[in-house]
């Protein structure tokens, strides 16, 4: 028989070994996590109080960057554009994807072919999608403008117009993203219990009522994930802006990430970029938290 102290010792030893094993498994992931994710978030805060750093050593400037960030009209505009862009792109792509998912759920033949075709643009990098869109939008040879010219006789300068540029950038995201959300919503629809639909049908609910009072509420978990994911991705919009408009015309498509990039390579003021980055991190985390609470309460 072991004494209590010996027993305790053995248990402690076993527990230490267990911990060592677990941390051996975790070590590579934790090292990269700390080095390239956790530490950069902390570094953002530090850099937001500094100036310079690229050519000359960084200097402490107190709250100068923060004051600058909230008074610089370009920064304010970049946040506004990013939010407006997301408010256009996300609802548009969700509504279109829902229509496509319902259509796919309705048809009996060719479902897989349609799925593949609609999903295809989703495979491409957003940069490539944007670049391909110049062949849709170009005033002279853009395919959309060729069609518009045939109908109205006038080409439209989508990217050169201050009011059209941002919606056009959103259009790229809709074209590229629709397939992804379509398949996600379709999987959601197809996993819903059919019994409920039979019951609703027996109670005399038509297709419209079944959609609004059964499908939509039942898909809440899918929407929850979708809204959070889409918000995180879309608030970082950069690639299509960089390749299509580079912030123009007249700063109409300046976005937060565009400004962060420019702060590093054009303005030579990484402190501004770090400050704005920190704001972006907080903004995304806050929106994610709000969405989580909203969806929990309504459940």
């Amino acid at each position: 028989m072991l004494s209590t102290t010996e027993h305790r010792k053995l248990r402690l030893k076993a527990r230490i070994r267990q911990n060592l094993t677990a941390y051996a498994f975790l070590a590579p992931a934790l090292i990269f996590f700390v080095l390239f994710l956790a530490w950069p978030v902390v570094a953002l805060l530090i850099q937001s109080f500094q100036t310079g750093g690229i050519m000359s050593p960084a200097k402490y400037v107190g709250l100068e960057n923060w004051r600058q960030t909230f008074t610089d009209p370009l920064v304010v505009k970049s946040i506004r554009n990013t939010v407006v862009y997301s408010l256009m792109a996300i609802p548009a792509v969700f509504i279109i994807a829902m229509i496509l998912a319902l259509s796919l759920n309705t048809v009996r033949f060719g479902q897989n072919t349609f799925k593949t075709i609609i999903y295809y643009p989703t495979l491409q990098p957003i940069l490539l999608a944007a670049l391909m869109f110049t062949f849709v939008l170009h005033q002279d040879f853009g395919i959309l403008n060729i069609i518009l010219r045939a109908i109205t006789g006038e080409p439209v300068n989508f990217l050169g117009n201050r009011n059209l540029a941002l919606p056009t950038i959103a259009m790229v995201e809709v074209w590229k993203g629709a397939g992804f959300w379509t398949l996600l919503f379709l999987a959601g629809i197809q996993s819903l219990p059919r019994d409920l639909y039979h019951a609703a049908e027996l109670d005399g609910a038509g297709p419209g009522r079944r959609f609004f009072q059964l499908t939509l509420p039942l898909l809440k978990p899918t929407f929850f994930f979708s809204f959070i994911f889409a918000t995180i991705v879309n608030l970082q919009i950069f690639d299509s802006v960089f390749v299509l408009t580079d912030g123009g015309p007249v700063n109409a498509t300046v976005t937060t990430t565009w400004y962060i990039y420019r702060s590093l390579f054009t303005f030579n003021e990484p402190g501004y970029g770090a400050t704005l980055s920190f704001v972006l991190v907080i903004l995304v985390l806050a929106l994610t938290a709000v969405q989580t609470i909203l969806f929990r309460e309504r459940r």
Binding site: A22, A29, F36, L123, P125, F141, D239
Partner: protein, 288 residues
């Protein structure tokens, strides 16, 4: 009997869509298919035309003779082939490394008890919501202080971080029956043996989804390579192609040829692993 029938999952006749609904659905899907594919077909058409012939109106959709000049210029005067190889090499390297790293971490989180487990789980979950684009400024300085700017390592190392993969694989491992590894441990198997010989083979579908997800994320990345790589020869495909547009006179034929060829690797991957792409395992797994 009749009660039982009403609870089966078999569709009953009246729930079948009407003819009008079916027709609408087909019209919607055909329209969506045209919108999806037209840009691809159009760049195919422009890539085999001379750039100045693009500006004729009305356009000739299918040129009478194929012009190969754009492709010759792409391989002769730009680093397009290098960009493609770089992208593939970096993508595969990251995918393999991340697969091992994430599977190990996911195994520990799913199957082992240790101090700080909850803290790490919460940290990973929070980190999913951190927008990576916001980290380029500090990452630039970290990579620079390591002396790795403008090297493949600059692209590989930070990409090994994304915590989504760990959470996804963890949900796969958690769903495995616990009895299996208990009995293996009783038979004297070490945790490494349980991991490598039992867990990994059982979560193969999860590993494939993880690999696709990781590779796609790398293949589509743009901002970080743009920041971290200055040398054109070390650049990846996305940034390389976008640099074709920065010339004073934009060679649209060249860009369309490059865009067209850039779709090929990912299309081949898609065709080979279509089942995994379309089953929505990917987002389903992330959700879970």
């Amino acid at each position: 009997m009749s009660l039982r029938r009403s609870f089966t999952n078999r569709p009953i006749a009246s729930l079948q869509p009407t003819g009008a609904m079916m027709l609408t659905a087909y019209v919607v899907l055909c329209f969506a298919s045209i919108v999806s594919l037209t840009p691809f077909l159009y760049i195919l058409s422009t890539s085999i035309k001379e750039t100045n012939s693009l500006f004729t109106y009305p356009p000739d959709w299918i040129p009478a003779s194929i012009y190969w000049g754009n492709f010759q210029k792409l391989f002769g005067e730009t680093n397009f082939a290098r960009w493609t190889l770089n992208t593939l090499f970096i993508g595969i390297a990251i995918t393999l490394l991340k697969l091992i790293i994430d599977a190990m971490a996911a195994f520990a989180l799913a199957k082992l008890e240790f101090f700080g487990k909850n803290l790490i789980s919460v940290a990973l979950l929070l980190a999913v919501a951190v927008p990576v684009a916001a980290l380029v400024v500090p990452l630039f300085f970290i990579i620079r202080s390591m002396g790795l700017l403008n090297s493949y390592w600059a692209l590989i190392l930070p990409a090994l971080t994304n915590p989504l993969g760990i959470l996804m694989l963890r949900s796969f491992i958690v769903s495995l029956p616990a009895d299996l590894d208990h009995s293996a441990r009783l038979d004297g198997a070490s945790e490494w043996q349980v991991f490598s010989q039992m867990t990994l083979p059982l979560i193969r579908p999860g590993l494939v989804v993880h690999a696709i997800f990781t590779f796609m994320l790398q293949y589509t990345s743009f901002l970080w390579p743009l920041v971290a790589i200055q040398s054109d020869k070390k650049q990846v495909l996305t940034v390389g192609i976008s640099s074709l547009k920065s010339n004073f006179v934009v060679d649209w034929g060249l860009i369309s040829a490059a865009s067209l060829l850039a779709t090929i690797p990912i299309t081949l991957l898609f065709l080979a692993l279509q089942k995994y792409f379309l089953s929505q395992n990917m987002s389903g797994a992330i959700k879970g």
